[in-house]
């Protein structure tokens, strides 16, 4: 989780109220749906199967490397490794590859996140990794890409590295970098057939992309996870550190683009991008941990009134928030807020569209 911001309750209250305006006034002057500018490149680590680097304008930067390794698929029921092959070669359990593919398991994707200054078994880091992993696997298609045959699969190691101090909650940064790295990932071209021991083409140029690029490709693309905060009635995308510090609630919204075969002579003229919401998770915003402000009426140093009345007043102040006095947000997110977040994410020309368009502009090395 992001570091504590060093803002006073008064500052927090001020920020909160300006963000709650309609339209909100953000400290860096962005509109509510605007992303901070970022630079991105792929293929920066030559030794990996795919890699990407993304650098946000606030100076945070992340690198993702993808490595693939061949692994024997262990039959959960146990049994000889070659049994499957013997069966299929003798034509007994000859197979429907599609059905076999569904035996693919999510555990074939392994993810680690490293954030400077934090232990790798830190709860926040592990949570972050799991959040990203869950979003990737949620489409149900990802693991199938790792299926080679009934005896072998790829194990994918996705290593995410934040190389700058975590100035804000790095979730969107890491997610976008992961997305790009996966788009740039290639697996060696398989030469063998069926359930044989896999053999691969030694020409790297011939290696196909995990997510094919050209031509009519169908199926989901790697998901992206966006961070959205609600402040009052405002919904803010890509919150900065300060904005997170006053958020009423924070949500991680994962979505992916699904490409479908364009129908022959179809009448549709729009971009044809179909977005699918894959998951949504609330995140404990740091604002919960901020110290509350004290109204001047209750301020002992200012009024100098007796103890008992002061205590009463303080109690009252806690029950009824006062304008201009900071109080850490409590409770959940209102349904209307959730609804409007979903709207904002999924609508045509919405935030997701904008992000994906931006990512498509990145040169995939």
């Amino acid at each position: 989780m992001a570091q504590q911001t060093l803002l006073s309750p008064a500052e927090l209250a001020y920020l909160h109220s300006s963000l709650s305006l309609s339209p909100p006034i953000r400290p860096d002057g962005r509109t509510s749906k605007q992303f901070r500018p970022l630079t991105a490149e792929t293929g920066i680590l030559p030794g990996t199967n795919g890699s990407a680097r993304v650098c946000l304008s606030d100076g945070t930067e992340a690198i993702v490397g993808v490595k693939a390794e061949i692994e024997k698929t262990v039959d959960p029921l146990g049994g000889e490794h070659y049994q499957e092959y013997v069966k299929s070669a003798s034509g007994v359990g000859g197979g429907d590859a599609e059905a076999d593919r569904s035996a693919a398991r999510g555990e074939w994707l392994e993810m680690t996140v490293e954030i400077p200054g934090l232990r790798d078994d830190d709860a926040g880091t592990v949570f972050l990794a799991e959040l990203l992993r869950e979003a990737l696997l949620a489409d149900g298609e990802f693991a199938k890409k790792l299926w080679i045959n009934r005896r072998f699969h790829w194990r994918l190691y996705l290593d995410i590295l934040l190389i700058s101090p975590p100035l804000s909650y790095p979730l969107p940064l890491l997610s976008l970098t992961t997305h790009l790295a996966l788009l740039a990932t290639r697996l060696p071209r398989l030469k063998s057939e069926g359930d044989e021991d896999p053999m691969f083409d030694d020409d790297w140029e011939a290696a196909p992309f995990l997510y094919p690029r050209e031509g009519a490709t169908t199926g989901p693309r790697p998901s992206i996870t966006l961070l959205v905060v609600a402040v009052g009635d405002s919904i803010l995308f890509d919150p900065s550190k300060e904005e997170l510090a006053v958020a009423d609630s924070a949500l991680a919204v994962s979505l992916c683009e699904v490409r479908t075969q364009r129908e022959q002579g179809g009448m549709e003229v729009d971009s044809g991008r179909e977005l699918r919401l894959v998951s949504m998770r609330t995140i404990d915003p740091p604002s919960r941990l901020t110290p509350p402000g004290v109204p001047s009426t209750a301020n002992l140093a200012a009024s100098g009134t007796s103890d008992t009345t002061q205590q009463k007043q303080q109690q009252r102040a806690e029950e009824h928030p006062q304008e201009g006095v900071w109080k850490a947000p409590l409770g959940g997110t209102r349904f209307a807020v959730l609804d409007s977040i979903m709207q904002a994410v999924l609508e045509k020309g919405g935030v997701a569209d904008e992000v994906l368009d931006g990512l498509e502009g990145v040169d995939l090395a």
């Binding site: 490149e41 990996t48 070659y82 053999m199 083409d201 020409d203 368009d357």
Partner: protein
């Protein structure tokens, strides 16, 4: 949101750095992406003696010397390139015509590009090794240019460019650079840089770029003996240019499995991998020994053999049980069945020709009749080849396939070559010089065997000379058995002592040569060898000690004093492995100077030796043993016969003779002990060809006689070998060089035991070597003393062959030498002619602390490789020796007819094999040779009896004594002279 693209070449040195990316699959099944950075340089020289610029900046070594430049300043010219030329072959040119590049008449000043070298390494390792050999020879002027590391010749792979196209482009780039670079030298005559390729696309592109480029055939045709050379271009290439005009017809052979399918299948136990062996009697029957089955799998018929050639490592698939058969009992020879095939036109319709089919049909009928269920053997078919073990084959052109018409000038003809080795199928050759090649021994290479070609396709390497001339036949058999017969190169001769024949044991004992050597010059030592022996490895002495025991010494030539580990001479010897003895020729493992002079323990001169001295008691039991380097002086060199005479001559009472009598007495005791322990006395027919010295034409053939003195020497050599083996194993438990002889699997003797039981009512017990030795002793026939020898010969063939090994690779019980019934054994006593002995000498020297252990004697990996090589060499040397004897027996019988006794060794349904003890040769007698037409016959496999009917009615049984007429015979069709046998009476 912006995308960042790293600008190319923004950094100062970016253009000097590139990288290479590829996928590597490791043996353990891992798949890795490998990225190699390539640092490009500008100081890699062109190595042309014309160029001064490169010379000045060529990289220098620590003593500030650059490598000398290779390419001549005035290379040879041709018609098209009168100004002289450098050749730059691309990979396919080398693949198709490596033999051309090895010619001494042309192909000088060749630039081998790194791109090409690496590609060749991936495509064919043997060719790569030959090319590397060429680049090392100084007179051929081959230069390896590292174009992938030179800035100007390095190219990046373009998008959607295949690796091949990229490499072709790299070759063209290098040719272009060389042309431009040489132009800068401002020499009077600038040689043309000519790309040689057989890729038409590459040639076209090169010409479009304005480069010199030529196809192999075009280039060769301009050379002086172009017609001869053009035959050396591999067949596959001329085929591409429309050689055999064959419409895309249906392939004749089944397709091979993919390698991944084979590998998985073998691992899963569905397929089996092994070495393909062809039966010497039936070219359509092969067998393959696989670990999963106790008996070899049979592979029957052309389609199942599926283009494998004897020696290939193949993968086979088992056939269903209803197709299992027993091994054939019929002789099927390729040349008789496919006699009238035409090499030009392929008769597609009958891929398996009617005659072949008929031959197999009869087979099947017979096996079904025999119905002995237990006799059936699993059959299999070849589904893929893991490794081709094609070598160069010697043979001659089948004259019937050469065109009958008048010699029509230089027409390209297709002919069949019949290899000398019957196990190799006919090879189709295309040549323009049929008339010259007829009747010659030829060396050919097999290029390919495609699915749609009935026979493998090859090309001519060279002609060895007329058939039946001694030189050609000797060279042929050396080539067939892969014997290194070239003279020793200069680097090897440089390792010899400077003094040459004048080398003497140093007089002063202060000399380093005397260090730790015992002076044994006063001992009465003598050597006993075959008459005329020049390379005397061993000498002996014995004397009575004051305590009543005997002192016995075996002195072995100290070869390791002259051959130091890991120098050129040692490397050459380890490759040769053994000296090869032919009837009229000896191919030495070590240069003559050492073998027949400096090392040889000649009489009357002082020599260095490695000595084993035992103290033994009355019963020849060892009291103690010691090993030492020594200096000896042999008193006499006896032949076996002379030694025997001297021992038997009672009047001789000198100490030397007494010592020899002691040796004989002890050797008999040693032999008895060995026999009691179960040592086998085995037999193989040994004969000697007597030569008339001047013409060296063989005049007579004799079987070797065995005297007591033969076994005297043999016993002490065995004794020494066992003692040394124990010593080096004690010193080097992991790396000692030992020799083992595995116990043969019981099934090996099944057939012989069955035959003996049925035909003679004898029992062959094979549970131990002792039992076998005893039961062999009982296999006697009162009327026929040779019967026992015959059985021993047949038993010998059921055995495993002995092998050298490194002690760390086997467990102690496996060390056993079955034939000698010894727990541990090595070879120590013939270092002049066997490399294994030389290794044992070095190990023993280290074991007794005489010298430090050299790394090459300690490294197990290297020793294993050496063992593997010398095992093969040893076997080949034996085979070559036998082949030489067979040839000379044929020559000795030339024009003579002899009627001889013979014994039936093997029976087929249409013929039988006999052994003629007098000549030690085997001959095949076919029924069709008995009478014309072939007499009707009946073969009873149960009783091993073959009965013929009609006017030539005979009954032939196994082990039967028959009389045969032996005469030489020159087969008019094949031009081979062989021994022909005819049955006179059964």
């Amino acid at each position: 949101m912006t995308s960042l693209k790293r600008p190319q070449g923004s950094e100062q040195l970016a253009q000097n750095i590139s990288n290479k990316v590829y996928v590597r699959s490791t043996r353990s099944g891992k798949v890795q992406k490998i990225v190699r950075e390539v640092y490009l340089r500008t100081d890699i020289p062109c190595s042309s003696n014309l160029c001064r610029a490169c010379l000045s900046q060529a990289p220098r070594n620590a003593v500030n010397e650059a490598l000398p430049f290779v390419l001549s300043a005035r290379p040879a010219g041709t018609k098209s390139y009168p100004q002289g030329h450098y050749l730059v072959p691309d990979t396919n040119a080398l693949l198709n015509a490596m033999d051309l590049f090895e010619q001494s008449s042309s192909f000088y000043d060749v630039i081998i590009l790194q791109t090409v070298l690496e590609e060749l390494k991936n495509r064919s390792l043997p060719l790569y090794n030959r090319l590397v050999g060429l680049t090392k020879s100084e007179d051929k002027r081959f230069y390896v240019f590292f174009n992938e590391f030179r800035l100007e010749t390095y190219i990046n792979r373009e998008a959607n460019e295949t690796v091949n196209d990229r490499n072709d482009r790299a070759v063209r780039q290098a040719v272009k650079w060389y042309g431009e670079h040489l132009a800068l030298t401002k020499a009077v005559q600038i040689p043309a840089v000519v790309m040689l390729s057989d890729d038409r696309d590459n040639l076209r592109k090169a010409r479009a770029q304005g480069l010199h480029a030529s196809s192999l055939a075009d280039y060769v045709s301009e050379l002086e003996d172009g017609d001869r050379l053009v035959d050396m271009i591999a067949e596959s290439q001329s085929q591409a240019q429309g050689g055999f005009k064959q419409a895309s017809q249906q392939p004749l052979y089944p397709e091979y499995y993919t390698s991944s399918r084979m590998m998985t299948g073998v691992k899963a136990g569905l397929l089996h991998q092994g070495i393909f062996n062809v039966s010497p009697y039936n070219y359509l029957e092969g067998s393959i020994k696989v670990p999963a089955f106790p008996k070899p799998l049979l592979i029957l018929g052309r389609e199942n053999i599926n283009r494998s050639i004897d020696g290939d490592v193949v993968v086979v698939e088992l056939l269903p049980q209803d197709q299992w058969k027993s091994p054939s009992t019929k002789i099927i020879e390729e040349d008789t069945i496919t006699k009238n095939e035409n090499a030009d036109t392929e008769e597609r319709q009958d891929f398996v020709s009617d005659k072949e089919r008929k031959a197999l049909q009869e087979e099947v009928k017979r096996t079904q009749k025999a119905s002995g269920e237990g006799q059936l053997q699993p059959t299999a078919k070849v589904v893929g080849v893991v490794k081709r073990n094609w070598r160069q084959y010697v043979g001659h052109i089948d004259p019937s396939t050469a065109s009958k018409g008048p010699s029509q000038g230089r027409r390209l003809d297709s002919v069949f070559l019949i290899p000398m080795d019957k196990k190799i199928p006919k090879i189709r050759l295309r040549t323009r010089q049929v008339s010259e090649l007829l009747g010659k021994r030829l060396l050919v290479t097999v290029d390919s065997w495609d699915r749609d070609s009935r026979h493998p396709v090859g090309h001519l390497v060279r002609s060895l000379g007329e058939l039946e001339t001694k030189a050609a036949e000797t060279e042929a058999l050396l080539l067939e058995w892969d014997v290194q017969y070239r003279p020793f190169p200069k680097t090897v001769l440089d390792c010899l002592p400077k003094e040459g024949h004048n080398w003497r044991v140093p007089e002063s004992k202060e000399d380093p040569g005397w260090r730790d050597r015992e002076d044994l010059r006063d001992l009465l030592i003598c050597s006993i060898d075959p008459p005329g022996c020049q390379d005397i490895d061993d000498a002996l002495h014995a004397r009575l000690l004051p305590n009543g025991n005997y002192e016995v010494g075996v002195h072995i030539a100290d070869v390791s004093h002259f051959v130091k580990p890991a120098n050129a001479m040692d490397t050459e010897a380890s490759i040769r492995g053994t000296t090869v003895y032919l009837v009229d020729k000896r191919i030495d493992m070590l240069p003559m100077l050492l073998g027949t002079d400096l090392c040889s323990l000649k009489p009357y001169v002082e020599r260095f030796a490695f000595t084993v001295i035992w103290e033994v008691d009355e019963n020849a039991d060892v009291v103690n043993v010691r090993f030492t380097k020594s200096v000896i002086k042999s008193r006499e060199a006896f032949s076996y016969e002379q030694a025997q005479l001297r021992i038997d001559d009672e009047s001789q009472q000198d100490d030397l003779t007494k010592g020899m009598r002691m040796l004989l007495m002890l050797s008999k005791k040693l032999k008895k002990k060995r026999m009691d322990a179960g040592a086998l006395s085995l037999s193989s027919p040994e004969i000697k060809v007597h030569m008339e010295s001047e013409s060296s034409d063989p005049i007579d053939v004799k079987t070797k006689e065995l005297l007591d003195t033969n076994s005297l020497v043999e016993e002490f050599m065995l004794f020494a070998n066992v003692s040394v083996a124990a010593k080096i194993y004690e010193a080097f438990p992991q790396t000692a060089i030992l020799r083992r002889h595995g116990a043969p699997p019981k099934t090996n003797f099944d057939e012989l035991a069955d035959q003996l039981r049925i035909k003679r009512g004898l029992e062959l017990r094979t549970d131990s070597s002792k039992a076998l030795a005893d039961s062999l002793d009982k296999c006697v026939d009162e009327k026929d003393p040779f019967f026992n020898t015959l059985v021993r010969i047949m038993a010998t063939r059921c055995m495993m062959s002995a092998e050298y090994f490194c002690s760390g690779t086997q467990s102690y019980p496996e060390f056993r030498h079955y034939g000698l019934a010894s727990e541990i054994y090595t070879h120590f006593t013939s270092p002049i002619r066997r490399y294994a002995d030389l290794l044992a000498h070095r190990q023993l020297a280290a074991a007794i602390g005489y010298e430090a252990v050299h790394p090459s004697v300690r490294s197990r990996g290297r020793l294993e490789a050496v063992c593997k090589n010398i095992n093969v060499r040893h076997r080949n040397a034996q085979m070559a020796g036998r082949a030489s004897i067979a040839y000379y027996v044929g020559q000795a019988l030339k024009g003579k007819v002899a009627e001889e006794e013979a014994f039936v060794m093997k029976i087929f349904s249409n013929g039988f094999v006999v052994l003629v003890p007098r000549f030690g040769i085997e001959g095949l007698i076919r029924l069709r040779d008995l009478a014309d037409p072939e007499p009707e016959s009946e073969y009873d496999a149960e009783t091993y009896t073959l009965t013929t009917k009609g006017d030539k009615a005979v009954k032939v049984e196994l082990f039967q004594k028959v009389v045969v007429r032996v005469h030489d015979d020159k087969d008019e069709r094949t031009g081979k002279r062989g021994v022909k046998m005819e049955l006179v009476s059964a």
